[in-house]
């Protein structure tokens, strides 16, 4: 049971980590919580599902979903957030909530509310490790997550564009003054964060199904992980995501599965009050 829960936790945690990246990247450049990020997760999964229905090869369908997610994030930014740069944070937040309601219901309008299963080439196979059986798809999720993390690290630290994003997260206005197109940086950030979020949705699709409201709790958890890791701290978000998944699984297994989702919320409250800079966070100066 212990090992069962540990594996479940790591799989869940990988998903949360991928989700957390999106929140954290957007926070970095705009200092705002993109509440509609959970809908990118859902959108990506739905597009993959739809592509599979059209007999697209599975890898292409997955890729299509990721691209669609990126596009969704990009459009969100361009159509709404960009036009609200000078608005108070609260307004942005409410706009994000509005977008999330729109996307959830648009998905339902187009594809219906019935949960559907995304196919996976690995789902039906288990691998025996000692006397434990581990599903191949779970291993696929974990490997892909690690891969994405490495690629993202490389992108941010080794490429020019990544460095621009990094600079933007230090100070978006100064970046603009230095002649870097801030809007472009923000768009790229949204696109990358959303692509990773959509990937999370696609990976979850075969296990927990695809349906219009699938992004709600995934979003909250990813967001909790990003707060745990320290808002704006990408490696922190990844580790916190994994941690959250494991804690949640153990709590569900050993305390009560009904309160599974409450675990993340309690952690969120606790972190906010006791360590608002996150577990691994550098201390971000609070404004007086």
């Amino acid at each position: 049971m212990f090992i069962d829960q540990l594996i479940n936790g790591i799989v869940l945690g990988s998903i949360y980590a991928l989700m957390a990246i999106g929140y954290t990247m957007v926070w970095n450049v705009l200092r705002f919580i993109n509440f509609a990020h959970g809908e990118v997760y859902m959108g990506g999964a739905f597009v993959s599902l739809y592509l599979l229905l059209l007999d697209t090869p599975i890898w292409l369908a997955y890729l299509g979903g990721v691209c669609a997610g990126a596009l969704l994030g990009y459009l969100m930014e361009k159509m709404v957030y960009m036009r609200m740069r000078n608005a108070p944070k609260l307004n942005l937040l409410i706009a994000a909530i509005g977008i999330s309601i729109v996307l959830q219901n648009l998905a339902q309008y187009i594809w219906g509310a019935t949960p559907e299963r995304l196919t996976s080439p690995f789902l039906s196979k288990n691998i025996a490790v000692g006397d434990m059986l581990i599903n191949q798809h779970y291993i696929f999720i974990i490997i892909l997550t690690i891969l994405v993390m490495i690629v993202l690290e490389l992108f941010i630290n080794r490429t020019l564009m990544g460095k621009a994003v990094q600079a933007a997260s230090q100070n978006i206005k100064a970046t603009q003054l230095m002649g870097i197109n801030a809007n472009k940086i923000i768009s790229i950030t949204f696109a990358i964060g959303s692509a990773v979020g959509a990937l999370a949705g696609i990976l979850v699709g075969p296990v927990f199904l695809v349906y219009p409201t699938m992004g709600v709790f995934a979003g909250l958890k990813g967001f909790t992980a990003s707060v745990m890791g320290g808002m704006g701290n990408i490696p922190g978000a990844m580790i916190a995501g994994l941690l959250l998944g494991v804690i949640e699984s153990f709590a569900a297994g050993f305390i009560s599965s009904g309160y599974r989702d409450a675990v993340a919320m309690v952690i969120l409250l606790f972190i906010l009050l006791v360590r608002p800079q996150g577990i691994f966070g550098k201390i971000v100066q609070q404004k007086v």
């Binding site: 200092r31 705002f32 919580i33 709404v80 036009r83 609200m84 000078n86 608005a87 108070p88 944070k89 609260l90 307004n91 937040l93 409410i94 706009a95 909530i97 509005g98 977008i99 999330s100 309601i101 729109v102 996307l103 959830q104 219901n105 648009l106 339902q108 309008y109 709600v216 909250l220 967001f223 909790t224 707060v227 009560s256 009904g258 309160y259 989702d261 409450a262 919320m265 309690v266 969120l268 409250l269 906010l272 009050l273 608002p276 100066q285 609070q286 404004k287 007086v288």
Partner: protein, 341 residues
């Protein structure tokens, strides 16, 4: 003199209008319309309550649906298990919600801006999960049905039983008036002004001797109590409560009412409540499109009319302009301060 006359005229017009509203049921035949109007009144109390903390004190909460729920569940549990009537459940709902509001406010209001939003979100979700999972007390996903109607009111030889939706209307209207009155009394006092000062500039407010944290906590408590009262009324009005009503979506709905109506305005809160209730009922005909249109409305309103409907009544564009300059200045200042540190 002129001024006094004018305000006396205004007062008498408002008073007459207020009394005239009691006659509204006479003109409405369809009980369904009455049902919607009653819902508007309940939501108006919620919106007034949230506006106290969001509009007047500048502290954003996306967890007030939970306070609404606590009020409703307290009333439902007391009515079902102990046979309490509305007159007994209502004070309990208000007090218990206020106490929880006090605790949450005390914990959460140390946080600012986005962090407060996150904390209220977490709190609201936890409370909702408690409604959902504490099956012995709350009925879990089944909720609690069969909550009693308010007892018949007897005035001399006149009897006012609560059977049809027409019967609930005057009662709910009285509570809305009470809510408006209390809101006004609070705003037009040193305490209320302190809240507004905190909303506009916390640092300056504190320099004037205003205990910022305490004031916020008290206002948060009152705000929660409003929602508790609305909850009790809702439970006895609809006769059933179930957890999903009080999930995150409810908190968002109340916040949207305040935003659409216009923050920091009593009229705005009520208009917001009316618009959202009517539009969501009107869109019931097209279940798939209902929430879709609702979401679009929120995005469009917040993008193009961020001051809400009451914002349209602000006569001077110049004032808005000036305001945005001031806001900019505050931002620069804040950054300056943190930079210096």
């Amino acid at each position: 003199m002129e001024l006094i006359k004018r305000s006396a005229f205004r007062k008498s017009v408002l008073l007459l209008g207020g009394i005239a509203l009691f006659l509204l049921p006479l003109g409405i035949v369809n009980p369904y319309f009455m049902y919607i109007i009653n819902l508007i009144l309940i939501y108006a109390i919620l919106a007034l309550g949230l506006d106290l903390i969001v509009g007047y004190t500048g502290q954003v909460s996306v967890g007030h649906g939970a306070f609404f729920g606590i009020g409703a569940y307290v009333a439902a549990i007391l009515a079902k298990n102990l046979g309490f009537s509305l007159w007994l459940t209502l004070p309990f709902s208000i007090i218990i919600t206020a106490v929880i509001g006090l605790i949450i406010g005390f914990i959460g209001l140390k946080l600012i801006e986005e962090y407060l939003v996150m904390a209220t979100l977490a709190f609201g979700t936890i409370i909702w999960l408690v409604f959902l999972n504490w099956t012995d007390l709350t009925g879990g996903p089944m909720g609690i049905a069969g909550i009693s109607a308010p007892p018949t009111i007897t005035l001399g030889t006149l009897q006012f039983p609560f059977i049809q939706y027409h019967d609930y209307y005057p009662l709910l209207l009285i509570f809305v008036y009470l809510g408006i009155l209390i809101t006004r009394l609070i705003i037009k006092s040193g305490f209320g002004r302190a809240c507004t000062a905190i909303r506009d500039d916390e640092l300056a407010a504190q320099a004037m001797g205003i205990p910022v944290f305490k004031t916020k906590v008290i206002m948060f408590t009152i705000s929660a109590a409003f929602c508790g009262a609305a909850g009790a009324l809702y439970a006895h009005f609809l006769h059933v409560v179930s957890p999903e009503t009080f999930a995150f979506g409810m908190s968002v709905t109340i916040l949207t009412m305040v935003m659409i109506g216009g923050q920091g305005s009593i009229t705005g809160a009520i208009i917001g409540a009316a618009i959202l209730t009517v539009s969501s009922e009107a869109l019931r005909e097209t279940p798939e499109l209902r929430m879709l249109i609702y979401g679009f409305l929120i995005v469009i309103m917040i993008m193009f009319f961020p001051k809400g409907i009451m914002g349209l009544f602000q006569i001077s564009k110049q004032r808005l302009l000036k305001k945005s300059i001031q806001v900019e200045k505050n931002v620069v200042e804040k950054e300056g301060l943190s930079y210096e540190q």
